[in-house]
């Protein structure tokens, strides 16, 4: 009996570790789970990523928030004149991926994600126009939109390393060994993967909602990463409301800070122009709260201030104004992203730029 119990325990835990430690295993679990509906199906991102953090029954939206493609009728008939390199985040990747048919006059798209740690060197093609689009959501912008951060994603690792001094190189060397060992032994998202595998089932949902609703109604709190809008209709990432957070829509951005940010953008533009790109376009996606204006307090208008700054030399896609028209229809109530309609507004604006 004891051997049987030990065998079952070992197989169950070892299988969990094996599957959750491999990308292929997680892909299989994820696809399988999301293909099912009901008790054995997944519930985590089905109703919005912020619902998946809070499990507040009120915010369980009925429509499917899986990021589906923009309808084919909205795609562009292309003349293959340029390559588009995008350094961006889930606001674009979840909707457009590397499909060139979304973009005007683009033959090939290469998408590099900010959250992929290893640098991917991008080399502009000689026979075509090369456009580099650097995009980030407002809340992450200050940490990402600087030359070092961009180079860390787009330049070869050696090129980045050559700028380090000897002490930094030694530290870098040991950190790489350490990281290498860690990566080979522990999957980076192991904890989240195990949680997904064990607890992301529809049958857990009533219990999760019970806890989520109880915490809100009795203790007055939700997951620390999430905040509820003043009008109680939207969930936001808490960091976008906290004025002490540099990525918040309500943080104080002084003129000096703004100037520094603008010079960073100019430096990025000049560096990549010198590396052979014909155009460098920036895009800052506004935090939902900057558009929805539910909090009744003035925000810092960061994107508009950068765009109109006299020192700013580049091109900036700013969809804030367009998104603000009938704003509530452009965002999900329980997701940190815009919806398909919001994404389409941004895309139209980019395409107008590409056609110019």
């Amino acid at each position: 009996m004891q051997k049987l119990l030990a065998c079952i325990g070992f197989i169950f835990c070892a299988l969990t570790l094996y599957l959750t430690s491999s990308n292929a295993g997680m892909k299989w679990i994820t696809q399988d789970r999301y293909s099912r509906i009901g008790a054995l199906g997944a519930d985590k991102y089905l109703y919005g990523d912020l619902y998946g953090l809070t499990y507040l029954s009120k915010f369980k939206i009925t429509k499917d928030t899986n990021f589906v493609s923009i309808p084919a009728k909205d795609r562009k008939a292309n003349s293959d004149t340029a390559n588009l390199f995008i350094l961006g985040d889930s606001y674009l990747y979840s909707f457009f991926k590397e499909d060139p048919s979304y973009y005007a006059n683009i033959g090939q798209v290469k998408f590099i994600r900010w959250d992929v740690a290893n640098p991917i060197e991008i080399i502009p093609a000689r026979n075509k126009k090369n456009i580099l689009l650097i995009e980030s959501v407002e809340r992450n912008m200050s940490g990402l939109f600087n030359l070092n951060s961009v180079k860390a994603r787009l330049d070869r690792a050696e090129a980045v390393q050559s700028e380090l001094n000897t002490r930094q190189k030694i530290a870098h060397f040991f950190a790489e060994i350490d990281e290498g060992i860690k990566e080979s032994l522990y999957h980076k998202s192991l904890e989240a993967n195990i949680e997904f595998t064990w607890f992301n089932f529809g049958f857990w949902e009533p219990l999760k909602e019970l806890k989520g609703d109880f915490n809100l109604n009795f203790f007055g709190r939700v997951d620390k990463e999430v905040a509820i809008s003043k009008d109680k209709n939207f969930l936001y990432l808490a960091e976008t409301l906290n004025p002490n957070n540099p990525g918040s829509s309500f943080s104080d951005i002084s003129e000096a800070k703004l100037k520094t940010q603008v010079s960073e953008l100019n430096a990025i533009r000049e560096y990549y122009k010198a590396r052979g790109f014909d155009e460098v376009i920036f895009s800052i996606i506004p935090n939902p709260v900057s558009v929805l204006k539910t909090e009744n307090r003035p925000d810092n208008h960061l994107i508009q201030r950068i765009k109109s700054h006299p020192d700013f030399k580049g091109k900036l896609i700013d969809a804030t104004e367009e998104l603000s028209k009938n704003a509530k229809s452009n965002f999900f109530t329980s997701d940190s992203h815009w919806n398909q309609k919001g994404a389409k507004i941004w895309l139209d604006q980019l395409n107008r730029q590409l056609l110019n």
Binding site: Q2, K3, L5, A6, C7, I8, G9, F10, F12, C13, A14, T16, L17, T20, F174, I177, D178, I181, K182, L185, Y186, L190, E191, I194, E195, W198, L207, L210, K211, F214, F218, F219, G220, R221, K224
Partner: protein, 469 residues
Amino acid sequence: MVFNSLQFLVFFGIVTSAYFLLAHKYRWALLLVASCYFYMAFVPIYLGILGLTIVIDYFAGIYLERFQGVAKKIFLGCSLLANLGVLAIFKYYFFFTDNFNFLASYFSIPIHFPVLNFLLPIGLSFHTFQAMSYTIEVYRGNQKAERNFGIYSLYVMFYPQLVAGPIERPQNLIHQFYEKHVWDADRVKLGLLQMMQGFFKKVVIADRLSMVVDPAYANLSNQSSLNLIIASIFYSFQIYCDFSGYSDIAIGASKVMGFKLMNNFNAPYTAKSIPDFWRRWHISLSTWFKDYVYFSLGGNRVSVPRWYINIMIVFILSGFWHGASWNFVIWGALHGLFQLMGLTLNRIFPKLAADQRKSAGGIWLYRLFTFLLVTIAWVFFRIPKFGDIQIYFDQLTHGSILDPISLAFNTNELLFSILLIVGLYLYDFKRDKIKMDSVQLFWPIISGLAFLIYFFGVFNLKQFIYFQF
């Protein structure tokens, strides 16, 4: 790898079931590999540091047994030097150079040591002290030198107590690695129950209290007196539940596999005096200092002034063991001073002390006073900067105690936290009567605790406070 993670549950399931599936002769190897895997989840490269001290102490142990006289002392010295050297470099180098450079600059001495701030290997002080106790015990002849390098390595690295104790003596642990532990359903259940209690203490009580404590201590200048009093009392229970929760999980996980680790806590806040508190709090460390430092200095078998000095030395060292920062030194010194004050008062008013201890009211007064002193000392433990300590006491003494505006906690959260603290205290107080480790009630207790942990737990993967030491 932190205990309060799903990774740990998977790891524990694999290691424990493999332990019972494997033949006895391979079990130590399994535990050693598992312990390395467990440790490397933090900073893998630091396994090398641990490995270095293990090699030194292993050979030191063998040579300590082989030689006598001066040579024996030299080997002990080398072993202690290696262990303390690692501690000095990784834990105390920054503290010493920083303070030295400050003094040098103050007195205009043109010497400046380079300041290197190493990332502290997790649990360094714990496994270093465990390793030191091995060589000291071999030196004293209380423990035979371990010939099996793997077993010795496992003694230092045994994963349940590797990063935050209990700090085991070799006489208690090494022989257990040779013993064949068979599956005993009752023992397994008891181990799981103790683990579950540890999880409850950590994620339901400690991490919940930290939601009140952390913001208050992070923004001292905006707190009212009442807030600070609440935060300080809560911190006393947070650190208790955090650390004793870790110990419960460590002891329980070991128990499931058949290992018996020493008890590390015994209802410390029911203590009637500071010496009583130290017999109940972090027992493995206080007995370590008693055995290897206090007695070596002569203990109480010396003149009264020297005895007092011995007490102060032990407590200051104990503070310094916790962290390379003045606030820990002050925390240790305060406990030393409280001890001395108690001893002195008992000597001056022996009858009064004896009378008080006889009455129920007197006993509770002692308990309350002891808790108050311990809580005051925790303030120094919790706040690393002198400037912030000053702000704390300024706010405490000058702020309005009844300022309701600044009571920034949700009332229900506050009441629930108080309820948990009262429950914990009653449980500690009546531990013998409340049977939470009953094998017969295993299923109701464990499923009840599991539900409470899920429903009231705060899951933020917050590290255990004592990991930093």
